[in-house]
Subunit: 338 residues, 2 copies
């Protein structure tokens, strides 16, 4: 099943069921006005939404609305929880080296997760807004799950049952603000501005066998300014799977329906020490920090700049049949007009 | 104006207007069903809520419901944003010393704020649940504001206009999980379980002249197991006021209505180096970590244990006339039954 939230209808948007081909959609106010409302009562609502989904796919509705990702917000325009893992430890190791910090051994056994801000996400086609290019604007292409309720202390196997939906994320990072902020000891804050999510959230069954072991086994495709920049496989080198991330989040607290848990930047090691670029025959990268580290290792300093005003980012994932699974995140970096 | 959320009515509870004496209340479904809904449309809703408040205070309603804090949830049972400052730098300095970490000089000029989790707060009379006493369970008594919308890059003076409501907080901390978690570099996560807020949120005008300079100038009273433990003044030694905290939060992102920003543990320096206990004639403490540090300085090691199952915490603030301003947070530490 595919779900999206149109921007119209208020701060939480308007829930629509989208057909598999993402050509048409249908609002379902009699079932749930918003995605959060659906998640709050998922066991009751989900079968009703599936009936609409099947009817859309079979052409049973005479006049379904055309589906336009450009009028979509993120599936949850605002959420009660957004916690982002760093499950691809290769990425963490690379970025840490770029900051001159060693990777502790326990990072391979204890998930690293940061608490994100979730009050005002931006839409999948909205600008990446910043007041200054000097902040070191970077993308981070990721996969995320939306969960149902999870109680404290569940095992990964128990928490796995709470996974409701999957999305893509652009977890924008302000690289030049990170070192100073992490040195203060309280983690990211200003260095993590508003994230954007794919126009469509999908139930795991849409992936068939490519959803297994709590991981999404498909490449994540990233274009920068129209050129292919990365296509690492999201199921490869994901050291901690989503159930493990959920269990980590809920070790000392309950977690409520509608919580979003991210994978961290998708990153493949590719046999070499840190992976390689598309130009060099590799699968490329899902953030600029990685290629800059690669350049530092090879040539002594980074060559690729961070994002500038006017640059564009496109993040998408395709199924085995070549069709887009989530629709695309397409963002242009712009100076905040405020 | 005083507002609260009854637990009944769903995940976001039921908004009620409470009279000044906190003896009676009235649900206002025709105006706003939940506090978040009221905050989403504050300019329209607030004058209508005030009419109900004035009518409650003047006894205009024949049969207002009795107000019972025991059936209240936190005013926002779940929120889209919970960011907690450490505005009382004396507390930060003490806790850092307890961890053997020096305080960087810029902590006196650059606010320290951590991104909290906000998907499932507990109510003001709910237990502090933990799976183990070994986590080092501590209270942190604080003041917090609920904001309206704030755009990116506002000055403190601009952001001040977005302050809608004030509350008290118990920002429970798991002290024994903090060192390992902060060493990982991504800030608090498992060491910050669910917070509880005062039963009542109030508009700043309820404080009269005691709300000035973006600070609450009243003592914050803490009882542990029935004995007075702290009564430091929330307006003293608050190095960064709430408008400054809001401006810090929104340097690189917008913030949406219903966001909660905390002051950090209230802590007075009291002329001495780090303040002193009630027994020693001081104003005492709003967390156990401070008294333990004081004991370490005086006697070489901490004497006061962290909270045990069965211990009780009470947090309250009184106006100049001796009346309770927010109602009390009263929590008992209990083993999570899960």
């Amino acid at each position: 099943m595919k779900l999206a939230s149109l921007k119209k209808g208020g701060r939480d948007g308007t829930l629509v069921v989208v057909n598999r081909a993402m050509t048409h959609c249908r609002a379902v106010p009699a079932i749930a006005r918003t995605l959060q409302a659906a998640l709050d009562d998922w066991d009751v609502v989900e079968p009703q939404l599936r009936q609409v989904y099947e009817a859309l796919n079979s052409g049973a509705f005479d006049m379904p609305d055309p589906f336009d990702p450009a009028v979509c917000h993120s599936p949850l325009p605002r959420a009660y929880q957004w916690a982002d893992g760093s499950a691809y430890v290769n990425h963490v190791e690379l970025v840490r080296r770029a900051r001159g910090v060693e990777l502790p051994a326990e990072f391979w056994s204890d998930p690293l997760i940061y608490q994100g801000g979730s009050d005002s996400f931006v839409g999948p086609r909205d600008p990446i807004h910043a007041l200054s290019e000097d902040w070191g604007i970077d993308l981070e292409a990721e996969v995320a799950v939306i969960s149902g309720d999870v109680t404290m202390g569940e095992t990964p196997a128990e928490a796995a049952r709470a996974i409701r939906l999957l999305m893509l994320v652009n977890d924008v990072s302000l690289r030049n603000l990170i070192p100073g902020e992490l040195a203060k000891g309280f983690g990211f804050f200003q260095s993590k501005p508003a994230s954007a999510f794919s126009p469509v959230a999908i139930t795991p069954d849409e992936l068939g066998e490519d959803w297994r072991d709590g991981r999404v086994h498909r490449p994540l495709t990233v274009h920068l300014n129209g050129a292919l920049f990365g296509q690492p496989d999201a199921g490869t080198d994901m050291v901690f799977n989503f159930p493990q991330l959920l269990a980590h989040v809920t070790k000392t607290r309950e977690m409520e329906a509608g919580s979003i848990i991210g994978s961290g930047t998708v990153s493949n090691k590719q046999g070499g020490l840190f992976g390689s670029s598309i130009a060099n025959g590799g699968v490329g990268y899902c953030c600029l920090a990685e290629v800059r580290m690669y350049e530092t290792i090879e040539g002594g300093k980074p060559q690729t700049p961070f994002l500038k005003f006017g640059d564009t980012v496109k993040i998408e994932m395709f199924g085995r049949d070549g069709s887009s699974l989530f629709g695309s995140i397409e963002q242009r970096v712009e100076k905040y007009p405020g």
